[in-house]
Structures are given as structure tokens and as C-alpha cells.
């Protein structure tokens, strides 16, 4: 036994947490735990994960049997650059194990990766604009959706750390961006507000989440799949409530 398992196990957990937090699948996490632990001399590896919990038990032979678990935040973002770097790290390690210090240093370097703000701004604007036109809006709706995509992004930055649950977060962001968009109906601009709304909705609606949830169900990750499926449905309901409330406020003449 070259390295101290007491040092290795928390490292594996940090790796796993980073993988989930950057959008890695539960199945990928379990497989990677196997690779990592085997690379460091694990004889038998039992890894289990759901979207908010990682469990790992490794039998290191002479080094003894070690177990560790980690609760991870439920709100997993997606960061493809981190995901790629983490994947590369696990490949490096399974070819030739790094020392725990090197491994830690690599993880720290990856955690420094952040999306360039210009990339985020351009991305959300482009996605919202493209979908407004994809669903039948014109150039005007596309441009307005581009703008409100940015508004939704700013609202996300502000509210995401301040809200306890995803549901209340989606409700508030939908309500506020909806109020902004339906206010356009009061201006002389010939805007189809619904087209702008659908563009912005595509940014927030858990469409990817519901698709991957059903995929998880199909491949047998039933717990993760069902919880993500319910989260997506409830999240979409919260958004619908937010946008409908903003529409009613305008249509009913309250505002």
C-alpha cells in the first residue's frame, strides 16, 4: 500500500462532488470511482451515488476496508470545461496514480475554472433569441428574447444563492421576467409577447433534466431518475405559475 487510504478517500469524494457539480452523470461517477479506487490498489470497490449523495467503500487489502459518504448540493450546474478536465484527470490517474498531493493540486486547479462572463451573456442571449424564432417568432421577437435572456441571467445570478429551493427560485425568476415581457404589450411595439416568453422559458425550463431523468430510469438509476423527473415537473409547474401570474396581472388590468 503506497498511499494512506485515509488521505485517498476524501480525495475521491472531492473528485466525485466536483464531477456531479459540473454536470457529470451518476453512472459516470460510479464508474469513475471504480477506476480511481482500483488505480490506487482497491481490491473491491463499491460505489453508489444518487444526485445528492455519494457512497464509497473500498477494500485496500492490507490497507484495510474504508468507507466514506458525501452529501452534495442538489443544484448541479453544467460546466463542460470542468467536466472535460475532470475526465482527463481520471484517465491520467488510472494510467499512473498521482500522489495525493498532486491529485489535490490538480483538483484545486480545476475548481478555479470559471465561465467567462461574455460566454454566459452571449450564450443565454443567443439561446433565448434562437428559440423565440425557432418557435415562430420574427426578428423583433428574437432580439427581444436575446435581451430578456440576459435579464433572466442577471436574475439567476441574484436569486440563485438567495433562494432555498429550486421551485421558489424558478417561480420568482419567471414572474419577474414575465412582468418585463408582458409590459412590452403596453408599448406600441408590434410584439408577440408569447414568442419572447417561450425563448426565455427554454433557458430555464428543466427540459434537459427531464430527458436525462428518463434516460437514468431506462439504464436503471431509478432513484436518481425518479427524483430528477419529479423535480423537473414541479420546476416547470413553478415556472408556469410565475408566467401565468404575470400575464394575468396585465390581462386583468391590475398593472
Amino acid at each position: 500500500m503506497q498511499y494512506d487510504p485515509k488521505e485517498l478517500m476524501p480525495l475521491f469524494m472531492d473528485y466525485g462532488e466536483a464531477l456531479l457539480a459540473s454536470g457529470g452523470e451518476v453512472r459516470r461517477l460510479e464508474d469513475t470511482m471504480d477506476y480511481l479506487a482500483e488505480a490506487y490498489g482497491g481490491i473491491r470497490v463499491d460505489a453508489f451515488a444518487i444526485s445528492s449523495l455519494i457512497l464509497l467503500t473500498v477494500d485496500f487489502g492490507e490497507g484495510g476496508v474504508h468507507s466514506i459518504s458525501r452529501c452534495v448540493p442538489r443544484w448541479n450546474g453544467t460546466d463542460f470545461e470542468k467536466l472535460e478536465l475532470l475526465n482527463r484527470l481520471s484517465r491520467t490517474v488510472s494510467r499512473a496514480p498521482l500522489s495525493p498531493q498532486e491529485f489535490r493540486a490538480e483538483l484545486d486547479r480545476i475548481s478555479q475554472v470559471h465561465t467567462h462572463p461574455v460566454k454566459k451573456i452571449l450564450g443565454s442571449g443567443l439561446a433565448a433569441g434562437a428559440f423565440a424564432m425557432f418557435f415562430g417568432g420574427g426578428i423583433l421577437e428574437g432580439l427581444l428574447a436575446f435581451f430578456f435572456g440576459l435579464v433572466a441571467l442577471v436574475l439567476q445570478f441574484y436569486f440563485a444563492p438567495r433562494m432555498r429551493s429550486r421551485v421558489s427560485f424558478l417561480f420568482v425568476v419567471s414572474l419577474l421576467s414575465g412582468l418585463g415581457i408582458y409590459a412590452l404589450g403596453l408599448t406600441p411595439l408590434p410584439v408577440q409577447c408569447d414568442m419572447v416568453v417561450i425563448g426565455v422559458i427554454m433557458l430555464l425550463v428543466p427540459g434537459i433534466a427531464i430527458t436525462t431523468a428518463v434516460r437514468d430510469l431506462f439504464i436503471g438509476d431509478t432513484v436518481t431518475g425518479s427524483s430528477r423527473l419529479m423535480e423537473s415537473i414541479i420546476g416547470a409547474a413553478a415556472m408556469a405559475a410565475g408566467y401565468m401570474l404575470s400575464m394575468i396581472l396585465f390581462a386583468g388590468g391590475v398593472l
Binding site: 454536470g23 457529470g24 452523470e25 459516470r28 481490491i43 473491491r44 470497490v45 477494500d59 487489502g61 453544467t78 460546466d79 463542460f80 470545461e81 470542468k82 467536466l83 472535460e84 475526465n87 482527463r88 475554472v113 470559471h114 465561465t115 460566454k119 454566459k120 452571449l122 450564450g123 443565454s124 442571449g125 443567443l126 439561446a127 433565448a128 433569441g129 434562437a130 428559440f131 424564432m133 425557432f134 418557435f135 415562430g136 417561450i198 422559458i201 427554454m202 433557458l203 425550463v205 428543466p206 427540459g207 434537459i208 427531464i210 430527458t211 428518463v214 434516460r215 430510469l217 431506462f218 439504464i219 415537473i233 416547470a236 409547474a237 415556472m239 408556469a240 405559475a241 408566467y243 401565468m244
Partner: protein
Amino acid sequence: MSYVLQLLYATLGSLGFALLFNMPTRHLLPASLGGLLTWGTYLLSAHLGAGLFLANFFAAVIGQLWAEIMARTMKTPATLYYITAFIPLIPGSSLYHTMESAVGGNWTGLRSYGVQTLLVTLGIAAGITLIGGILYFIRKKPRHEPKTSR
């Protein structure tokens, strides 16, 4: 709307999400092409008479193949490519309209949008699972040897 415009917007939508998800620059172009490819497959299948489920299924099969090929060529997780490729397919708007109908008490809308969301989701998931299953099956030796503990 013309097919050309739809394909353009689908590609731009994939590009937008790729940027939003911090896609490394070298993957941006091929990842957006994935969106073009899936929506093209969807349109072609629908044109040839495939229903909602089958059209999404075929599109997902092509999208997943593209993701697996690009993952091997570019040495990166397939996740980067299949998520972006599926952006035009994902039932975001029908999921939203389903819940909108539910919140508004529109039961006809709830049923038709709900079924639409269900079919699209099942179609995509079936496509991913099929390709994933085939690849796992043909990949060299079974990876998990029987585990033995002391």
C-alpha cells in the same frame, strides 16, 4: 417556417447552450453541428411520415452516435456532445405548456401537451439508451470481473 430557417435556429440554439455551459472553444463548432444533425434527422423522419416518438427516437440515435464519435475523436466525455446535440429536441416548450395547462385548469391542453412531452422524452431516452447499450455490448471485455473480498 422553412426547413432551412428551422435548421439555422436549431444550430444557433445548440451553440447558445454550448456557450452557456462553458464548452471549451475547440468543441463549439462540432457541438453546434450536432444540433443541426439531430434537428435535420427529426425533420427528415417527420417528413417521411414518422410520428413524434419515432422521429425523436431516430434523431436521438443519430445525435448519440455523433456524440460518441466526437467523444472518441476529440478525447472528451460524450456528455458534452449529446447534451448540446439534443438541445433542439428537448421538450422544453411542451413541458412548459403541459404545466401551464395544469395550472390554468385546461384539461384538454394538459392531456395533449402531456402526451407530447411524454412521447418526445421517451423517444430521446430510448435512442440514447439503445446506442449506449450497443456500445457497451461491443466494447472489448466485460469490465466488471467478479469482485472478491477477503
